[in-house]
């Protein structure tokens, strides 16, 4: 049985003005897997991630070519709905960025904006989302206290809960642990493993250990090109390209 990929990316090119950030990237991202993207700073992995929910659209003077299909549908088609896309493909940022509101209001933000649920259902949705982000047990009694009083690690899981509340299919994570200490990082990684039961996850990370620990597939970016993409196990034990081996063994980058 062959599974239909969640994302099919073909010959993706991306330019910031005159600078080309991505060169002919082609990759399939499979459902209910964690795909890790590694590579040195400025290699294009974050740019690539943001192409997947069109967050680059807001940056002026950029140009994109190639094709990205989400479950068969071209997300850059002229009639594609970006707001619906971003609801299905959510983004977790590098720094935890909860709103200066209560914990409850943070999680309820998306459903309220989208007008999907209200009242009792909203309470249940908030609880489910917090459970989904493995945060419920820590905040169940303090839902009305300010989100910014949480620790950074809890804030990051709150941001994940905020995302889960709009019921996405795909979760993109842009170095989600780079602002966190090792214990908080471990918790987020555990959470990622739980989340992949239900969601497709693409994570950009600077930590090769993290990629090795959590991901199923790993892609190595170098100067805007996808140098190698394979099972994480293969990438970290028997990489086929010399550059990949040099990077993961720490000889550069």
């Amino acid at each position: 049985m062959t599974l239909q990929p969640t994302f099919q990316i073909e010959m993706l090119n991306f330019h910031y003005g005159a600078t080309q950030a991505l060169h002919n990237v082609s990759i399939d991202i499979m459902p209910r897997e964690i795909t890790a993207l590694i590579g040195p700073s400025g290699c294009g992995k974050s740019t690539f991630l943001r192409c997947l929910n069109r967050m680059n659209d807001t940056i002026p003077d950029t140009e994109i070519s190639g094709r990205i299909r989400l479950e068969g549908r071209d997300i850059y088609a002229p009639d594609a709905d970006t707001t619906e896309l971003r609801q299905r493909v959510g983004l977790v940022f590098q720094r935890p960025n909860p709103f200066p509101q209560s914990i409850f209001d943070n999680v309820a933000f998306g459903p309220r904006v989208l007008g999907t649920v209200s009242g009792r259902n909203l309470q249940e949705l908030v609880e489910d989302s917090l459970r989904g982000a493995a945060l419920w047990d820590e905040v169940a009694t303090t839902l009305t206290s300010p989100a910014l009083s949480l620790s950074l690690g809890q804030q990051q899981r709150l941001c994940i809960a905020r995302l889960l509340a709009v019921k996405p299919d795909v979760i993109l994570m842009d170095e989600p642990c780079s602002a966190l200490d090792p214990i908080a990082t471990t918790k987020v990684e555990e959470l990622m493993r739980q989340l992949k039961e239900q969601y497709t996850i693409v994570v950009v990370t600077h930590s090769m250990q993290q990629a090795a620990r959590v991901s199923d597939k790993t892609g190595f970016f170098w100067l805007g090109e996808l140098v190698e993409f394979d099972e994480t196990n293969t990438i970290f034990t028997r990489p086929t390209v010399q550059r990949t081996e040099e990077y993961i063994t720490g000889r550069f980058g």
Partner: protein, 283 residues
């Protein structure tokens, strides 16, 4: 004479210290002089009664009501317009020659003397649009004067909201407008409110813009519609100080006190909104 560093320091400290004192002292002296001289005129009757004897006796109720009407009317016109413009400039417009021109225009608008607004209002609203000398014409004139203050403070307050809040909301499938309404506006609200209060405060205290557009010399009744003229505190004060012979001094001071209370209350309100916002804000 050569001074040591220590002496220079002391002299500099004294000079700037007395400069500060000199700016604060007149305010305190003026305010207390007016309140002390006005105190005997102030009574419940002075506030809520109509003027009598050619304004030489009775109260100043119509002027108080009139100034309140003018402030509210100006707010109703200038707040939606100003806020709309600020949202456009901060959230929608991309930086271009066009937006730069708008900003220059706003800054220049803020620098125009208020009497010029008055004459402009006379020409446009009173005569050309045939609104006559009326509350509505005065409010429109005051609104034009107030708009630059409201637009620039509101735009500043909107821009101060961290970009990441917008990105999160957009990234979750919110539209630009949903993002503004649910996140940006609520976060910017205290700053916007401060600007609105300061703007309306100026509108309430000005004489020149309403001189030709809606202020009545003497009208011993409350205005019955927005096309009526109205008395107003600043203009009333001007009239009784310069135009009415045999005017009892304490009534003049009493009127000045009421106007001051009006304006100071709004200033204090603006200041407390600002400090409340600073304490509340976590970004």
């Amino acid at each position: 004479m050569h001074l040591s560093r220590y002496q220079t320091e002391r002299i500099a400290f004294m000079v700037i210290g007395s400069a500060t004192l000199l700016t604060v002292a007149p305010i305190i002296i003026v305010i207390s002089a007016i309140f002390i001289s006005g105190a005997e005129a102030i009574s419940w009757e002075f506030i809520v009664e109509m003027p009598r004897d050619g304004m030489r006796a009775g109260g100043i109720w119509p002027a108080i009501v009139g100034t309140t009407y003018l402030a509210i009317g100006t707010g109703l016109i200038s707040v939606p317009l100003g806020l709309g413009a600020a949202i456009y400039l901060s959230e929608y417009a991309r930086e271009s020659a066009w937006t730069r021109t708008i900003r220059v225009a706003i800054v220049n608008l803020a620098g125009i003397p208020s009497v010029v607004y008055g004459l402009f209002g006379l020409g446009l609203f009173v005569l050309f649009l045939k609104l006559g000398s009326s509350i509505i014409a005065a409010c429109l004139t005051l609104s034009i004067m107030t708009l630059p203050v409201i637009i620039s403070t509101a735009e500043e307050a909107l821009r101060a909201v961290p970009q990441s809040f917008r990105v999160v909301s957009i990234g979750m499938g919110g539209t630009r407008w949903q993002t503004i309404r649910r996140i940006v506006l609520p976060q910017a609200m205290p700053g916007i409110l401060t600007g609105v209060i300061l703007g309306l405060n100026r509108a309430a205290g000005e004489t020149a813009p309403i001189l030709f557009t809606g202020a009545a010399f003497f009208l011993p009744r409350l205005p019955s519609s927005i096309f009526d003229q109205t008395m107003a505190l600043p203009y009333h004060l001007f009239v009784i100080s310069t135009q009415v012979p045999g005017m009892p001094l304490q009534i003049q001071y009493g009127t000045a006190s009421v106007l001051l209370v009006f304006v100071l209350t709004m200033n204090i309100l603006a200041a407390s909104v600002r400090s409340w916002q600073r304490r509340k804000r976590q970004w």
